[in-house]
Amino acid sequence: MTDLINNLSLGFGVAFTVQNLMYCFVGCLLGTLIGVLPGIGPVATIAMLLPATYALPPVAALIMLAGIYYGAQYGGSTTAILVNLPGESSSVVTVIDGYQMARRGRAGPALAAAGLGSFFAGCVGTLILAAFAAPLTEVAFKFGPAEYFSLMILGLIGAVVLASGSLLKAIAMIVLGLLMGLVGTDVNSGVARFSFDIPELTDGIGFVVIAMGVFGYGEIISNLSTPEHEREVFVGKVTGLLPTKEDFRNMIPAVLRGTALGSALGILPGGGALLAAFAAYTVEKKTKLRPGEVPFGQGNIRGVAAPESANNAGSQTSFIPLLTLGIPPNAVMALMVGAMTIHNIQPGPQVMTSNPELFWGLIASMWIGNAMLIILNLPLIGMWIKLLTVPYRWLFPAIVLFCAIGVYSTNNNTFDIWMVAIFGVIGYTFIKLGTEPAPLLLGFILGPMMEENLRRALLLSRGDWSVFVTRPLSAGLLAAALLLLVIVLMPAVKHKREEAFVED
């Protein structure tokens, strides 16, 4: 306990410098700005804004990136409530009741419920992260290469099991991602693999290129191909932000349930914000309505408060596997791994011991970021609404431009611009073929790590594959992965899973 307090005070010491506070603020502001725009999710947002952090010291860069991440999340809920379009995927369920509240002139309370719920959940998530980080890191140090390999298998399987869509296709996307991750010089033999004698490819494919091409360009092209909906934006109708006493009475248990659910699901591989929001909404729908309460789907405040708290708690706790084990649980965290590598930090258990300022500073800044966001969002709501009225035909050229500039500035090399063009086409193809790109990014980041751990494990066992099942920890992890697969493939669960993701 005293350790925790000491660590946190170290963290706050780092985070409360003028410089870091400023970066945290800028990150939150930019994240919200992009998050509010419909059709551009957190992955593309982070990839787009990544170049802005290159010149910063590592702590400041990570603080800013984390700020961008939850800023994007907050912004997404604003769009969901006011425009009936999810600004990003984890706000999909918020749309259902949030938009109905806005239509009944209760946009203010809906926004406040989302904001306050998220803030509370963010605080709890950060505390859990701080409390669990140290003991989990201890466990991580006991891991050998075999355990790491099995853990990555579990993580990847978890990521697809909990995602939507076809399981087989998602696993195929992971494998494709793993293969793409192997392009470039093999660290052990020095052989340039799959580089087609192109010098730039010997360094591997840049993760920024994939993220922007597939998530940025692919999405824009797909958005433009569907005719623009008549967007109904509730401008100037947001009056009276504060929820009523009755609202609070309904909201508080929903926020608590959402936070608990979100924190738990966030830690799971593949969990994170999206699943947390879905699960929280389902739970709220199952609990009985109080007399006089508005039914779900017609503007129930619980339908906004619970999923918003859950997705924020989930996005906070999904940092746990990243910071303690060095394994990203979802696509956004995969991007964070890439960002850390650019700043010469190898994510994993050693970060906490070798770089405590960075580790605890980042955690403390998460809490500060959450506080900033609520200050930023509720009073400034008018500004975000203005932004929502900007037509898409002005927005998308700007997004294309930021992607192009971002990609170029990664290496100051036009080769990356050609690559992002190729990945844009690939990304659109993925959308047309109904294959989800998130597992691809996860596989891409984990590819080299997996190969390295497999090589080491097999080297130690002299080529004996049974090492993965004879070491108890590794066997347990693999068994868990298998169990997950079996559960999902059971007909009853399979049916339910398909149902759960069609709710929107």
Binding site: Y54, L168, V175, I220, L224, I417, T429, R455
Partner: protein, 162 residues
């Protein structure tokens, strides 16, 4: 055999071909054994796995009945080509194209070209509006990326700045 699920059929085909290609490519490197993995070992393994997964998806797409055939639908060639072209032209403006003797034209001109071409991706192109947008973006990008973030960009054409 009839295709019963178009999206799955073609994605399965894509995975099979790509997997086979990776596996085939991997055999050109030394594969080695489990205890001494060569650079070809892991990619060969994954390539075969991907090809098998792809073939399974392909097979399912021809066997399992889907309600509406899960059609791919029309490809949006207009946005696809204009967005990608805008991006490529921006690269050409920044880096120049030595093969036709085009010197680097710099970021500002690149922004104008990108904005104009990208705006053609949807059907409502208005030149005046687009030029205003491009001007705003140029000034904004110059201030944000060059002045504030000090990123290394050729801002103006090299034949002017030398």
């Amino acid at each position: 055999m009839k295709i019963k699920n178009q999206k799955d059929f073609f994605s399965g085909l894509m995975f099979t071909i790509v997997g086979a290609a990776f596996a085939l490519g991997a055999t050109t490197y030394s594969v080695g054994t489990g205890a001494r993995m060569g650079p070809g070992y892991f990619p060969l393994l994954l390539g075969i796995l991907l090809a098998i997964l792809g073939a399974t998806i392909l097979f399912n797409a021809m066997v399992v009945e889907t309600p509406d055939g899960n059609k791919i639908g029309k490809w949006a060639f207009r946005p696809l080509s204009f967005i990608i072209l805008a991006n490529v032209l921006f690269g050409v403006m920044i880096g120049g194209l030595p093969s036709i003797g085009l010197p680097p034209m710099g970021m500002i001109l690149g922004i104008y070209v990108l904005t104009i071409v990208a705006s053609m991706a949807d059907g409502h192109f208005k030149l005046k509006e687009v030029l205003v947008l491009a001007t705003i973006l140029s000034i904004g990008s110059y201030l944000a990326f060059v002045v504030l973030l000090k990123l290394q960009f050729p801002v103006w054409p090299t034949f002017i700045t030398g």
